[in-house]
Symmetry: C4
Subunit: 260 residues, 4 copies
């Protein structure tokens, strides 16, 4: 019997794999969604690389980022990013933290990402910049303490994206598919902004354009088209299905090969 | 019984997939061709990402961009680009609108693309630049009104390509395969022009060279060779066939997996 | 009964596919080898994109670039590049003409490629630059006349590579596998030289280093290792075998699909 | 009956293929590990491109880089890199020598790689730069003599990475998986550092951050996650299994094709 939660868990696992396949996530990064029936919980995978995530990997957390059931696997060290943002922003239904190559030059140089093309308007008019060092001094740059997550959420404020110094970015959305689009278009925008520097200093879109073009990725027409496209690309890229369950040891895999 | 229309519809679906596979189109962008028997109509897919388009997706439109039959699916919001250009340019038989990464730095920086190598001459001597904001002020940058399409067609004039500020480009051709070549070579040209900037400011080809080299991609020899190559690359890139029909829901796909 | 000619034809077809798969050749470019038993002939494919070339596509030409047997297919328009170089350079056993993206910024900006890392020394101490316009004025930039091919061969002189203004490059070798290595390492060298510009102006290797390191790719050890690697990558990249024979029409392919 | 040596040989072969698949190694480069039961020996493949390496290719060497058993195949010319470092650094358990495209601009321009993001801290605070020409004058730049290997090991000193002028880099680790992570993160760091130059001159992380963030890739959680991810990507990228044993001749492959 299908229900909203089961569907959302499937969609969240797919969102993880899509964002990995589109180059937003790699071995690292994670995506969560608020629980559809309980706004005091969110759904997030156990510690696993996003391209491999299946529905069985998804766990439930309270907003202080404690697992609802005793965990049988490693958890992401940085899950407070998600919990702290859901606490601070009742309107946020989905969160993605990533280190996409496209945005790293900006996170490293400390220069702002601005919307430079119509789809890039999904990042909003301003992208705040958070430097963990300002408040916490020397750390390993991971966001693992509640205070660190809260500080990040404050810097995010009412915006849709926050850049994190020397680390990456965190993106939020009013729905999971909105979040996926914003994360992908943010990377395209950053890539184009960087490459346009060879031709001059790119100006942002006009303020009115940002507001209007920022809504393109929410058009039902566009949501359907992009989701179908990204899902298809993901499927086509998998000549060999990812291995389910725990990673096989080299020995186990050899045996499997021998059996073929 | 094969006929010209059926063949052209197959070719148009293939052109969509080729241009997507070669990196000109992505989730967005679209390609049309004028109706082979009725110059007052054109053929264009329903709203779908180009890599997934099959002959059944192709619909007929009048030149004011109204579907000839009542549509059963979403239509591209920007189809006026096609209709307005077919109205203004009797010599144009095919149109492609795209946001290829290679040309975006030029569309964003407002700098001209000029032909810098022999195959790049397919873009012609001048590539006009259209800024929707000049005439229409703040919009979401999509070309959705007849007046917007007409303005774009005026800026295109007698040229083969028009750059669109903060948005992308529109390319035309005297035949579908000519359009496909021009679109691909335009992207290569833009990529080389941008990369050459690290070594100096690249000058365009001589005017006489542009005229002569611009005809290379029309040589029957070359049309056959490129079409075979791009078709083969497309086939080789599809380890898994794209899903036909409407996008499956996550639930439906799971069932299918379980059945395997 | 295997013989030297049959083996070389197989190797030439494979060299075409390897150079296409490694990004040196695309829809365009061609590779030839001198006839193993008759220095007055060379072997080159009919007009076809290199990734698709099979032994049956290889034809024999005299050094004035006339096919030895009446051709049943289109021939490369630019085959005089090969014939004129074999006439001028008795030591050359293989020739590759290409427009690889890595070298195009140099061909467009008119700036020299210099060996900047050990494997890049395969290009030699100097890479001459040929501008077809100097001698022939406005053309379509293709090298199709004997005089054009002879002019290019003169500019190549005793060197291993010649850059061609706004067009591409031509590479020669004392053996087919040497040519393949030089073509690939030339592209790597150009890519690294361009990217190093962001850090400063890269100096060439010392003259003595160029001579010594230029011989690395001729070490039997290295020839075996690279050929095995490039062959394997080519095989692994082909999930679907390329179509043999003439390109299928869209109609024919549809029928085939229906039959599956 | 599995034992530590057999497991480590399997892991070393897999590490070779992972590093090749992730773009650190190509036709060239090699990875070794110290013998688990005899610190006076190390394990390294016969001369073969890393993407093709299987457990049967792994040989044992003494620390003066002589094979323990008479070799039946070509050996890497540069294996002294490994032996000399194991002699000089009792704490080093694994060594990788590579020419990754990401680091080549730095090796060519003679500019330092510095840690610019949290995972990049794995390269350590300083990356020394070794110029073979300083001590040995004109060579082919390969490290083949014991004195050359010893000189390189001296320049490496107590660091984790050494850049090699016009050639590449050598990376060391306290364990094989640590080495694999450091090699991959080093390339990401170099890529981001180079791209950030378009926005300004990137400063390194703070000294305290380097120490703390440099330990991220050693967290058991992270080791498991990255190893599973890289293994899966390698598997998914192999639509066709690599050919085992010696490279087939073109003739042999044709026969195989005919049989299909």
């Amino acid at each position: 019997m299908p229900d909203k939660l089961t569907d959302l868990i499937e969609e969240l696992a797919l969102a993880n794999r899509i964002l990995a396949h589109e180059g937003v996530l790699d071995a690292f990064g994670h995506v969560s969604v608020r629980h559809p029936n309980d706004p005091g919980r969110y759904l997030l995978s156990r510690s696993r690389s996003p391209l491999l995530i299946e529905p069985d990997d998804i766990l439930q957390y309270t907003l202080d980022s404690k697992p609802v059931s005793p965990p049988k696997a490693h958890l992401y060290a940085e899950r407070v990013i998600h919990g702290c943002i859901y606490q601070a922003r009742g309107d946020v239904m989905a969160v993605c933290h990533h280190h996409a190559p496209a945005i790293m030059p900006f996170a490293i140089a400390g220069k702002p990402i601005v919307p430079v093309f119509h789809l890039g308007a999904a990042v909003g008019e301003d992208v705040p910049f958070w430097d963990q060092h300002d408040e916490f001094g020397d750390t390993n740059l991971l966001v693992v303490k509640a205070e660190e997550g809260q500080s990040l959420a404050r810097k995010l404020g009412r915006h849709s994206v926050v850049l994190m110094n020397r680390h990456g970015a965190t993106v939020v959305g009013g729905a999971l598919k909105e979040l996926v689009s914003r994360s992908i278009f943010m990377c395209q925008n950053a890539e184009y902004q960087l490459r346009a520097l060879a031709l001059g200093t790119p100006e942002p879109l006009h303020r009115g354009e940002i507001k209007l073009a920022g809504a393109i990725s929410l058009m039902p027409n566009v949501v359907t088209r992009t989701w179908e496209y990204w899902s298809m690309r993901l499927d086509a890229g998998r000549a060999v299905p990812p291995r389910h369950g725990a990673a096989k040891t080299p020995r186990a895999r050899k045996t499997k090969k021998a059996r073929r």
